[in-house]
């Protein structure tokens, strides 16, 4: 899976990860090579438990790999070590994350949930607020900015989560089955919004999904099987 070198924003080389359960060792990733270019989208499909979420976690540097290398733009990272202070400092601006379960903070209202992403990146509060409102309006939930997440529908929550992921104009958005909890119609709307927003924001999207239709909507598609990533 290789692309034009100049515009690569995220890549891995020989990324491997295994889990040990008692005496059994399960290799979920076996030397995965991946490249994601600027403002492009890539979907990864695979069976449940094949290591899709693990791959996203490794890319976000939330866990350590057994070996291999990750590159965030020009920043080479040793995947087998814990995230350094520098990486943590870069992460908030470089990555946006969207999860199946939304993970909105219940004590904050919609606007505050979006803004917390900007706060983590040390953004200017006034400009961030303006941008948060812009993104919320783009997601069609601007009227709900003062509501707490518990009062929103699943689709609305995921739209807020997308706005939060995009607040810092990240280079890459990692989306882990973002429509998994939604009904078909809402899922289509949300996916459309996600793809559209990433294109507009010039953020690359790495989408993990079980849904073939959504996968086809991305620029490139890959399949994770037996620990290897295969381009379709």
């Amino acid at each position: 899976m290789s692309e034009t070198r100049s515009s690569i924003v995220l890549s891995t080389k020989k990324l491997s990860k295994s889990f040990v359960f008692g005496e059994q060792r399960i290799e979920v990733l076996r030397g995965v090579d991946l490249e994601l270019t600027e403002a492009s989208s890539l979907s990864i499909r695979g069976d449940s438990g094949c290591g899709k979420t693990t791959l996203l976690n490794l890319l976000a540097r939330l866990e350590t790999a057994d070996g291999g290398e990750i590159k965030w733009e020009n920043l080479s990272l040793d995947a087998s070590t814990r995230a350094s202070k520098r990486e943590i400092g870069v992460r908030a601006n470089f990555l946006g994350v969207v999860y199946q379960a939304y993970y909105l903070i219940p004590e904050l209202n919609v606007l505050e949930n979006v803004l917390i992403g900007a706060s983590l990146a040390g953004g200017n509060p006034l400009r961030s607020k303006e941008r948060a409102r812009f993104l919320l309006s783009k997601m069609g939930v601007e009227a709900k900015e003062a509501q707490v997440p518990q009062k929103l529908s699943g689709g609305e929550r995921q739209r807020v989560a997308i706005a939060r992921a995009l607040i810092n104009q990240p280079k890459v958005v990692l989306a882990d089955e973002p429509t998994g909890n939604l009904d078909e119609r809402t899922a289509e709307e949300v996916m459309e919004l996600l793809l559209e927003s990433c294109t507009e924001e010039k953020s690359s999207l790495l989408l993990v999904t079980h849904n073939g239709t959504f996968a086809k909507a991305t620029d490139r598609q890959a399949f994770l099987q037996d620990g290897s990533l295969r381009q379709l």
């Binding site: 976690n57 939330l62 202070k85 943590i88 601006n93 994350v97 505050e112 992403g117 040390g122 707490v148």
Partner: protein, 537 residues
């Protein structure tokens, strides 16, 4: 900004949007506030007691005592010289000893002190103590009008005794009551004014006194047993017939007195005590005749400081000299200094040393805090003991906060993972929980200090409410007798550095303990594997 978001999230978790305050925050803040309040109030009261004892001790014995190691024949000269010094406001000589008092078959051996009536009140507020000790006769058909005795009533044949001595011997000073009859009540009702007793010396005999108005301008005083009569004029100074006669004073009312208006009084003479001294025993051993010395009870006094002898007698210097079989002696001086010296113990101590040097090697000058050091050490010990007892209150609150925050960490596992995924460092995420402890501690400290201020401000009302609830209406006086909460001076933080430091120390204690309580949950959150946290159900 990078460090502001953990604080922001900590605040929001305690005070979520669209909700004023979470139940956990409310309970935690109340817990800390109550703890801080109790700690401050108890220590403030302890300091109030210390302050009260300080004042009471200084009042009862001055700022220092100058004691000659050998009898000094030139003490009157020394007394004068001391008074001429800039910072010396009062000097009064004293004699001390032990006497045996007898009334019928009752005896008492009080601590006895001879003072100079002329200048004793420069150092010791005896007139106040005489007001404290006054016993009033209560009667359905009479009103006790006995004026408060003063140091002026102290003669060589008159003594003042404490209430305990008076109770033990069954004695009391001269007393006068106004008899309430129809005529007198009617006069007061009509607003014609009153007849009061301005002075009642210890030599006034028992008798019935009648003040009869002859017309609008004059009145007559009569005593029925002796047949004494004297006419006085209204508008002129009251008739003062010398020792042995009460001084009546007519107070005009809205209407003038009329001919035939009458006010009747009954006087009771003061008790007479028989006094024996050790010198009399020596005389008796030598087969000399030693009849007891008779003195009258001029007044009953009460010193507010419990450390003062509960059974005590005050007479004149000459009386004590006579009882000791000496002449012109002095056991030392009580000294009162200027505020400049009185307010700083170090200055006072230095001044006393200088004074000692000036008086010569035969004199000791002992400041009040040295003489009563044992007492203040005891109070300090009590204060430390209180603090030690109260620290667990703070720790209990801390444990409660730690448990609640730990539960919060368990509930927010996925949020912790998310925050790390979004770019938060694990340390910063952990800090959220530590900061929650700090916020709870800070708010608790502020509210606790506020509560303590309210408690101090309304302490009398609160105590009265509590005492009435426990002991009923009549319980107030009994409680006040032992626990003098009502006259206690409890400082606000802006009044004294001691009070300010108490407030600050306990506020800081609450903040530190609450923050420390948040450390364990914070450490747990910081150690959490974000990927596992995100996967958790």
């Amino acid at each position: 900004m990078r460090f502001a978001w953990p604080l922001y999230l900590a605040w929001k978790q305690l005070f979520p949007s669209q909700k004023r305050i979470s139940f956990f925050s409310l309970l935690s803040v109340i817990g800390v506030a109550l703890g801080v309040n109790v700690m401050i109030v108890v220590i403030a009261f302890m300091q109030g007691f210390q302050q009260k004892f300080r004042t009471d001790i200084i009042n009862s014995q001055g700022h220092a005592r100058a004691v000659p190691l050998n009898p000094s024949p030139v003490w009157p000269q020394i007394s004068k010289e001391l008074l001429e010094r800039d910072d010396v406001l009062g000097v009064t000589p004293y004699l001390q000893g032990q006497l045996l008092l007898q009334n019928r078959s009752y005896h008492s051996i009080p601590f006895s002190m001879g003072l100079d009536p002329e200048d004793a009140d420069q150092v010791i507020p005896l007139n106040e103590y005489l007001i404290n000790g006054q016993l009033m006769l209560e009667g359905y058909d009479s009103q006790d009008l006995t004026p408060f005795p003063t140091m002026d009533d102290l003669e060589d044949e008159v003594v003042f005794i404490t209430r305990q001595v008076a109770n033990r011997l069954g004695v009391r000073p001269a007393t006068i009551i106004r008899l309430k009859d129809a005529n007198a009540t009617e006069q007061i009702k009509e607003g014609k004014g009153e007849v009061r007793v301005r002075r009642l010396d210890p030599f006034v005999p028992s008798g019935q006194w009648t003040v009869t108005f002859l017309d609008e301008k004059s009145y007559r005083i009569e005593e029925s047993t002796s047949g004494f009569k004297k006419v006085g004029l209204l508008g002129e100074p009251p008739l003062d017939l010398g020792l042995g006669f009460p001084v009546f004073e007519t107070l005009p009312g809205g209407k003038p007195f009329e001919k035939g208006d009458q006010v009747r009084f009954q006087s009771f003479r003061s008790s007479i005590l028989e006094v024996y001294s050790p010198s009399m025993i020596e005389k008796a051993k030598a087969d000399e005749l030693a009849p007891p010395h008779e003195v009258r009870v001029g007044g009953i006094f009460e010193v507010p400081w419990q450390g003062f002898h509960s059974e005590a007698l005050i007479g004149t210097m000459r009386f004590m000299d006579e009882m000791r079989g000496t002449e012109g002696q002095c056991d030392g001086f009580y000294l009162k200094f200027s505020d400049r010296l009185a307010q700083k113990e170090s200055l006072l101590s230095e001044y006393c040393k200088d004074l000692e040097g000036d008086l010569g090697s035969d004199w000791l000058v002992i400041p009040w805090f040295v003489e009563n050091a044992w007492f203040f050490e005891l109070l300090k010990f009590e204060e430390y003991l209180m603090i030690l007892i109260m620290i667990p209150i703070g720790l209990v609150a801390a444990f409660a906060i730690a448990i609640a925050l730990m539960t919060s960490v368990m509930r927010k596992v996925r949020e912790i993972g998310l925050l790390v995924a979004m770019g938060g460092s694990q340390t910063a995420v952990g800090a959220i929980f530590c900061l929650q402890g700090l916020i709870i501690g800070s708010l608790g400290a502020v509210f606790g200090c506020g509560l303590a201020l309210l408690f101090i401000r309304y302490r009398d009302e609160l105590m009265s409410f509590i005492v009435t609830g426990i002991a009923g209406e009549g319980g107030q006086d009994e409680v006040a007798q032992f626990y003098d909460f009502y006259s206690l001076q409890v400082d606000y933080p802006w009044d004294s550095p001691e009070s300010l430091s108490t407030f600050l120390a306990f506020a800081l204690f609450a903040m530190v303990v609450s923050t420390v309580a948040g450390l364990l949950p914070a450490w747990r959150a910081a150690r959490m594997n974000p990927a596992e946290a995100l996967r958790s159900e």
